[in-house]
């Protein structure tokens, strides 16, 4: 099979609640000065909505744009990073989503351990499935982030970002319509598997509620090559697809902080969409959903034929790049 895979739908769903950065820092007993340089003014917060409800809403919107009935989906991939409404991996949101959407023909996949880069892993896996199995014509990729309440500031001693709630969804399908997924390059650094993780609530510390929060291990985090690992992946991707990096029109990266995002963009010598800064300011870091949100901004600013690069580094430690032609 040599059909191309296209992005047919792209949508996000955010809860209506909002908390200012001042409120978030004050609520966690932190000095507001620590937020300087993050480029985040507020984050979206749930008021009782479940992660699966946000995921279903984002999924419905993406499917509506794609003009694809849920019953026509072949596979649902969940690349959520946050703890889910029941304990993973024994429970996976993708199964509930299959039911809530009425996607009776879809089998389900849950991914773990890749942070925001999980979206690019999901794109790579979905593309692989769609191009090798003729019985599958479309895939839904979803992430729904519901960070541990009262622990939204990642590394309170030296904040690297602030986590917000929200869901993002992409519909991919074989065919001729929509931005074309050219390819994905991925890499993980197992030496930094515990750079950022939640220690409590699983088998090592089952009852440690005090450890039920994201912990950033600073030395390990610093040792992971992060943005530097993305550059060779982009070069690999460009070479594989005969693309001159200078012709890439837009760069889509996760919304970590204005400093981190600018550094990644500078390292790649590419420009984020104009809407990305506002996305980060208004929602904070919503893991894989950032990439959906910023891709939505990028495609709105792109002309037909423009190349958009999605690039990420995240927990795992996973780095990745996906090239899309609008």
């Amino acid at each position: 099979m040599t059909e191309t895979v296209r992005v047919r739908g792209c949508a996000c769903a955010f809860p209506e609640g909002v908390r200012s950065l001042e409120d978030v820092f004050a609520g966690e007993g932190l000095d507001r000065d620590g937020a300087n340089g993050l480029g985040i003014d507020r984050v979206s917060v749930r008021a009782g909505e479940k992660g699966s409800e946000l995921a279903a809403e984002a999924g419905r919107r993406a499917l509506a744009e794609a003009g694809i009935e849920p019953a026509g989906l072949g596979v649902i991939l969940d690349c959520t990073t946050s703890p889910q409404e029941l304990l993973a991996p024994a429970w996976n949101m993708s199964n509930k989503l299959q039911h809530d959407l009425g996607a009776k023909g879809a089998f389900t996949i849950g991914l773990a351990g890749a942070g925001a880069t999980g979206l690019l892993v999901a794109i790579d896996f979905a593309t692989s499935l769609l191009t090798t199995d003729e019985s599958l014509s479309s895939a839904l990729i979803v992430a729904s982030e519901t960070p541990v309440p009262a622990h939204r500031v990642l590394d309170p001693d030296d904040p690297v970002t602030v986590l917000g709630d929200g869901a993002g969804a992409l519909v991919l399908s074989r065919g001729d319509e929509g931005p074309e997924v050219l390819g994905t390059a991925l890499a993980t650094e197992g030496t930094a598997h515990d750079a950022c993780y939640i220690p409590g609530g699983a088998m090592k510390h089952p009852l440690r509620e005090d450890l039920y929060r994201p912990v950033l291990d600073r030395p390990t985090y610093e040792s992971a090559r992060r943005g530097a690992r993305v550059v060779p992946l982009v070069e690999q991707l460009c070479e594989r697809h005969g693309v001159d990096r200078a012709t890439i029109a837009r760069l889509v990266v996760p919304n970590y902080s204005s400093e981190a995002d600018a550094a990644l963009a500078a390292g790649l010598e590419l420009t984020p969409p104009a809407g990305a800064a506002d996305n980060r300011r208004n929602h904070g870091h919503v893991q894989a959903t950032d990439l959906v949100l910023n891709f939505d901004s990028a495609r709105a600013e792109s002309a037909s034929g423009d190349l958009v690069l999605l690039a990420s580094h995240g927990m795992g430690y996973a780095a990745g790049a996906t090239l899309v032609r609008c």
Binding site: L86, L87, W91, F107, G110, V121, M315
Partner: protein
């Protein structure tokens, strides 16, 4: 999906040395007073003599030992591994999906070139979902040819009884997929999910407990909606098995009558009898011998039973083997393998 040309180069499993007899398990974990099994006596009829217990080993330790054994059996350099998949289906060392043991195993065995990721679907069907995904990825990536898939199961304390199904056993399994390997070739994988049943078997989790409740072990225990299981899962169980088995065979160009051997999960004596009856299998067409030895290893049953059946000479060279299972989610799956 037909995946010509990807075979299982090697496989291995690890059972921790610690063990408890079934009687000891039942003494520690009382059964419900009201049986829903009719004439079947869960404790007497289950057919499981003992289960292995991990003790101080973490899930990742079990996974890592199995992974090392599989890599050694495959006689490959870990640097050759392009994809490393963790298909563990119950909680690991740290909280999922934020963390997966894939990165830890990558670091420990030195699979520096691999993409390391956790892939699951909730429950034992993670084996087939990971297999299907890995085969598709290898097929779609001409530059890649080797994948290592692993799982490490450690049952939370006092949660070995999965009434009315089985007793959970600790252990790990792993296998190496390689393009062009001509043995145990994966011909097709079929998987079907009924998402309405997503919360029939589940673990609640520490953070999802009711307000005012203190942290306690049972929030990591497998819970069952027993009426839902009886009313919604059991009536369709064999039907779904037939659906995915026939679907996989059709994709591979075969029919049920062509199947030489079945590899099936290790649940209980009555479940094995029911499956054999429902699928009209002769006793020598399916591996059931492991039931007494160790009970249910979740998704690891697939590799453990395949390896044991092969080791005991029950699978002839070139046999057509169906590896099938089901799991919480609820997902039913089947893989057709040419041995």
């Amino acid at each position: 999906m037909t995946t010509d040309g990807i075979g299982i180069l090697a496989s291995a499993y690890y059972l921790p040395p610690g063990a408890k007899t079934a009687q000891e398990i039942f003494a520690d974990e009382p059964l419900p007073e009201d049986s829903i099994l009719g004439e079947i006596d869960f404790a007497k009829d289950i057919g499981i003599d003992r289960v292995h217990i991990a003790g101080d080993e973490q899930p990742s330790d079990l996974a890592l030992e199995a992974a090392r054994r599989a890599v050694a059996a495959a006689a490959i350099d870990p640097l050759e591994i392009d994809l490393l998949v963790d298909f563990t289906s119950i909680p690991e060392d740290y909280l999922a999906p934020t963390w997966s043991a894939a990165g830890l195993v990558q670091e420990s065995i030195g699979a520096t070139n691999a993409l390391a990721i956790g892939v699951n679907t909730g429950g034992c069907a993670s084996f087939h979902v990971a297999l299907k995904t890995a085969c598709a990825w290898l097929e779609a990536h001409p530059e890649a040819d080797t994948a290592l898939l692993f799982s490490g199961i450690k049952t939370p304390e006092s949660n070995h009884v999965y009434y009315p199904i089985t007793l959970s056993c600790d252990g790990g399994s792993a296998y190496v997929l390689r393009k062009g390997h001509g043995r145990r070739v994966i011909l097709a994988v079929e998987t079907a999910t009924v998402g309405e049943l997503h919360d029939i078997w589940y673990m609640q989790g520490l953070a999802n407990r009711e307000e005012g409740k203190e942290p306690a072990d049972h929030f990591l225990h497998m819970q069952a909606d027993l009426p839902g299981f009886q009313e919604k899962v059991i009536p369709i169980n064999l039907l779904m098995f037939r659906k995915v088995i026939r679907g996989a065979l059709k994709k591979a160009g075969f029919k049920m009558k062509d199947v030489d051997y079945y590899v099936y999960p290790t649940f209980s004596s009555w479940d094995q009898e029911s499956f054999c009856r429902g699928m009209r299998l002769e006793p020598d067409q399916i591996y059931t011998e492991s039931l007494a030895r160790h009970g249910h290893l979740q998704e690891n049953d697939m590799i453990v039973n395949y390896d044991d059946a092969a080791g005991e000479g029950k699978i002839a060279d070139g046999a057509l083997v169906v590896v099938t299972g089901n799991g919480a989610g609820f997902t039913w799956s089947a893989a057709v393998v040419r041995d």
